[in-house]
Structure formats: C-alpha cells, structure tokens
C-alpha cells in the first residue's frame, strides 16, 4: 500500500536536496554586500514595519482580480491537459464553457476600464 507512495517520497527528497544544495552553494560562492534596504524582510514592495492603517491603491485589488481570472484558469487547465485524450470532446466542450465564463470576467473588467492604468 504505502510503497505506492515511494515516488512521492523520492520526489520530496530530491526537491529538498536540490533546494538545500542551491542555497548552500550560493551561500559559499556568492559575494555578499549588506545594506539596510537589502536586509529588510521582503513584503511585496511595502514597508514591512510601520503603521498598518494607511491607504493604498485600489489597483492592488484589480491586480488580485486579474490574478484570480488567469490563475484559476491555469490551475484547471493542467489537470485537463493530463487526461485530455480520455475525456475527448466532452472535456473540450466543458473546458470551452469554463474558459468562456472566465473570459466574460476578463471582458467585464476590461470594459469597466480596469486595464487603463492612469
């Protein structure tokens, strides 16, 4: 039973090992310069320490909405790609409907002017 999961274990070990090797290598080989800005924790361009009650652009949310439209699409396209052949025409039509609904979302935000940056 559990032996079925052996490839998963192997995959995990390889992934951890590879990441570890790369991190260690860059630690030994890389040149290091420390500046205040560089040593700050990375927070997507925001100041990580400070008052949380400040206003920020509504575009963050627009970007998040776009991200959802495309990300969800991509996430569902991958598993479909794996079983594309067995699903056949049924799968194609289903995915076409699914993508159509996402495209409606895109057209909507586009038409509402979310892509105009200034």
């Amino acid at each position: 039973m559990l032996t079925n999961y052996l490839p998963v274990l192997l995959y995990m070990l390889i992934a951890i090992g590879l990441v570890g090797v790369i991190v260690l290598l860059s630690e030994f080989l890389g040149k290091k310069t420390h500046t205040y800005q560089k040593d700050l924790p990375y927070e997507c361009g925001m100041d990580p320490i400070g008052d949380a009650r400040h206003r920020y652009a509504v575009r963050f949310y627009v970007i998040a909405m776009f991200f959802i439209v495309f990300d969800i699409e991509a996430i569902f396209l991958y598993p479909w790609g794996v079983i594309f052949k067995p699903l056949g025409w049924f799968g194609l039509v289903e995915m076409a409907i699914f993508i159509f609904i996402l495209v409606v979302g895109l057209v909507y935000v586009w038409g509402k002017g979310a892509l105009e940056w200034e």
């Binding site: 079983i83 067995p86 699903l87 609904i101 409606v104 057209v107 909507y108 935000v109 038409g111 509402k112």
Partner: protein, 487 residues
C-alpha cells in the same frame, strides 16, 4: 486509461442555465455598452425569470436525481424554484425607480440578483452537502455585494461588512458540521443516503453525528435569522438597499428553509428527539424575541426585520412538527410570506422616497387620507403579516399551528398563537397611524412608477387570492412533500 463520463440531462437544470446565461449577458452588455443606455436590464431579467419559471413548470412532476446524483429532481425543489423566481421577479419590479433615485441602476445589480437566484435554486435542489454549500455561497456572496450597493452610504457599508463577516463565520460552522458528518458516515454526504449511513454507524459515531447536527443547525439558524443567531438581521436589513432587504427576507429565507427542511426530514430520522427538542427551543425564542423587540422599533425597516425574525420562528414551528402538514405549511407559508413581505417593502420604497428619507413609522401618519389606495395596500400586507383572515398569512399560520397540534406540540402552538397576538400590535399600529392620525406635514407627491405599481398589484391580489383560494396551492404542496416518506 478510460474515464466514465456520467450521463446527464441539461434540461434538468434548465432554469439555472437560463438565469446564468441572462446574468452573463447582462454583465457583458453592461461592460460593452456606452454609458447611459442601461434601461433594458430589468426587462431582460424579467424575460429570463419568466423563461425559468416556464422551464420549471415543464420539469414539474419529474422525480429522481441527475448529474451523478448531485441534483434532486422533485416537486419539492420545483415548488421552491417557483417561490424564489416569484421573489426575484417582484424584487426586480420594485428595484428600478428606487435605484435610479440613488443613481445605482447598474447592470451588476441585476446580474448579481440573478446569480443569487441560481444559488437559491441550487440550495433547494442539492442532493449533496457540498452542492448545498456551493449554492449557499453563490447566493451569499452575491448578496454581500448587493447589501453594500450604495457605496457612499455609511449604513449600507455597515450592512455589507456585518453580513460578510458574520455570514462567513456561519458558513464555517456549516462546513464544520458537514466535516463531522463526513467522518461519522464514512465519507458519504449524499443527503438521500445520509439517513442510512448514519443509522449504520450509530453506535460508534453518535457523538460525532450529534456535533455535526448541532453545527449544521447553527449555520442554518444564521441564514434563516433564528434567535440566538439573529443579531445581524436588524442592522443588515436596515442598512441594505430596501429592494435588497425585500429580496433577502423572502429569497434567502425560502432557500435556507428548503435546504434546512430537506436535510432535517431526510437525513436525521435517527435523531428526531434531539433536533425536535433543539428546534422547539429555537422556535419559541425566535418567535418571542422577534415579536417583542419589534414593538419597540420606530424605523419601519428595523420593524420589518424583527418581524422577519418572528416569521422564521413560525416556520421553525412547522419544522418541529415534522409531519406532512408541517412540510406543506412551510412551503405554503413561504409562498404567502414572499407575496406579503415584498409588497410591504414595496410600500416602504414608495413612502421612503428621496433616498429613503421617510423611514420612520410616524411618517405613515395620515397616509390614508392623502394616498388612500397606497394605504389600503399597506393595510392588506399588515393584516396578512399579522395573520388576519382572509389573507394568505392567516391560512399559512392556520396550517402551521394545526400541524403543531397534530404532532402533539400543543404548547408550541399555544405559544405561537400568543406571539401572533403580540405581533398584531405593531402591525396594526401602522394601520392606525395611517388612518387615525393626521399627517404631521403634507406628504407630497409619491412617484408611482409602472414597475412598483405592477408589483403592488401582484402582491396585493396574490396575498388575498392565495388566502381565499388556498386549495390549489395546498394540493401542489402536498404533491411536492410526497418525497419524504418518513413524514
């Protein structure tokens, strides 16, 4: 590798598809058409709702399941489809002028309304707890947005935020309950099969199932606004746009009670004693607190919010009765409640004019002299809500309390009738104000627009006709509760 593609029949979810397509079409038209040409969205929604009603009528009489047993096809679901479609249609009719006044006659409003309707139908027809949750969320998320439609209005924002935070919280309770049931039944969440699975595993998993049942009750109790999960109701109902308040009070309640009743009747025969006892207490608390607190309200929307809590209590009485008449009375009462409550909110919109500036109950003083027809319509709705013959509200309450008596819950029926008496005070106070108190100032002209007039005529005539000739609706309801053999 071969994959068995389940067979399904698209026509069995025809009404959902029609409304979804219409909503998508409205969104696209709204995004692509130049500003100012938005007059056709209400008409488009009404056409889609009419087609959906027709499709439901064609489906009537079918039975069984579809989409890999996920969707029930039965008259119980179809009756609720019709109630929900009726509620949405009336909401669309009362919306347009009101929204134009606020400058919010947006395509999104109608699209979200239709999406919420699809979610409600899904709740009424789902045969799987996850489908039920999906329907609940489709409905709720659309309504969270609609409650905050008036972005510039602080109260509307408050309503949307309160509803979102508390609604998400209650959804978590519901999901947690489903998770316990998933564990208790060995991974089966089909509503039609839950009863058998629960019985099979009863000796081992009784505490787990009880916990799941209790958490489900919390989740549904929130959605139907039952005490002690009712705290959000007055604030949200007061702050949301009046048309959305009407929609919430009838649509959400109908959908939540459809799912609630189906689960309780179909899935928990092994726990009848426990959930009857719990709901008995909830019903009494809901009726009493709703009615008593409504007396103290001076804002008409808050008063109707507490009245809506009280009506959830009456419906819980029918749920506790859990016999055939009880199930029938839930359906019949929700139909009657849809008609009379949307009608009352239509009058609130008409009297409220100029961005809801007249929402105090004393603004109704003298309405009977200045606008006699409008006052007469409001009186019909108030009489119906109070349960006075020959309106639909009376017949509905009669069915509910006879069901309780039939099931042996004499005291519950007595408490219900006493509560009904309490409610007469605050409903008739509006009528008294309208006819026996002079107006404090001239009310001024009221804009009678075609949509609102049509909605008031339909609801007024419906409230009286459904009350005078209940037979047809009763028979349909009896035909639709045959799916619960245990009753």
């Amino acid at each position: 590798m071969t994959i068995a593609i389940p067979t399904f029949n698209l026509s069995s979810i025809g009404p959902w598809l029609t409304l979804t397509v219409a909503a998508i079409l409205i969104l696209l038209l709204d995004a692509l058409s130049p500003k100012g040409r938005k007059a056709y969205f209400p008409q488009l929604s009404l056409i889609a709702l009419a087609v959906a009603a027709l499709q439901t009528w064609w489906l009537w009489g079918q039975s069984g399941t579809d989409f890999a047993r996920m969707v029930f096809l039965d008259n119980f679901a179809f009756y609720f489809y019709l109630i929900v479609i009726l509620g949405t249609t009336l909401t669309v009719l009362i919306s347009r002028h009101y929204l134009e006044e606020w400058g919010k006659n947006l395509g999104e409003y109608y699209a979200l309304l239709l999406f919420a309707t699809v979610g409600m139908m899904l709740m009424a027809a789902s045969n799987h707890l996850i489908m039920l949750f999906l329907g609940l969320e489709i409905m709720s998320i659309a309504i969270y947005v609609l409650a905050g439609l008036f972005r510039e209005d602080a109260r509307s924002n408050e309503a949307a935020l309160k509803y979102l935070v508390l609604g998400a919280f209650s959804s978590a309770f519901l999901l947690f309950g489903m998770a316990f049931l998933y564990g208790a039944t060995g991974g089966n969440l089909f509503i039609g099969e839950l009863a058998g699975k629960i019985k099979e595993a009863l000796p081992l998993t009784k505490p787990l199932t009880l916990l799941g049942l209790a958490l489900l009750l919390v989740g549904f109790g929130f959605k139907v606004a039952s005490v002690p999960f009712h705290m959000w109701t007055p604030d949200v109902y007061e702050g949301a746009p009046t048309s959305i308040t009407a929609f919430m009070s009838v649509g959400v309640k109908a959908a939540a009670f459809a799912a609630f009743a189906r689960i309780m009747f179909a899935a928990f025969p092994a726990f009848v004693l426990e959930w009857h006892m719990l709901l008995w207490v909830l019903a009494v608390a809901t009726m009493t607190i709703g009615n008593v607190v409504a007396i103290a309200q001076t804002n008409i929307k808050r008063m109707l919010a507490y009245s809506s809590i009280a009506h959830a209590g009456y419906l819980l009485v029918a749920l506790v009765a859990a016999n055939q008449l009880g199930a029938v009375s839930i359906i019949y009462y929700l139909l009657a409640y849809t008609l009379m409550n949307v009608g009352a909110f239509g009058v609130v919109i008409l009297v409220g004019r100029k961005k809801d500036s007249y929402l105090n109950i004393y603004d109704y003083a003298g309405l009977g002299f200045q606008h006699p027809v409008l006052a007469a319509a409001m009186s019909v709705f108030m009489f119906a809500l109070a349960g006075i013959p020959p309106t639909a509200g009376f017949v509905g309450k009669f069915y509910i309390f006879s069901a309780a008596v039939q099931a042996g819950y004499i005291w519950l029926a007595i408490i219900g009738v006493m509560n009904s008496l309490v409610s007469v005070f605050y409903y008739l106070r509006i009528t008294v104000l309208m006819y026996m108190r002079p107006a404090e100032a001239d009310l001024g002209p009221i804009a009678f627009t075609p949509g609102l007039v049509a909605a008031l005529i339909i609801t007024c005539a419906g409230t009286i006709l459904v009350g005078v000739f209940p037979g047809w609706f009763y028979d349909l309801a009896v035909a639709s509760v045959k799916i619960f053999p245990a009753l």
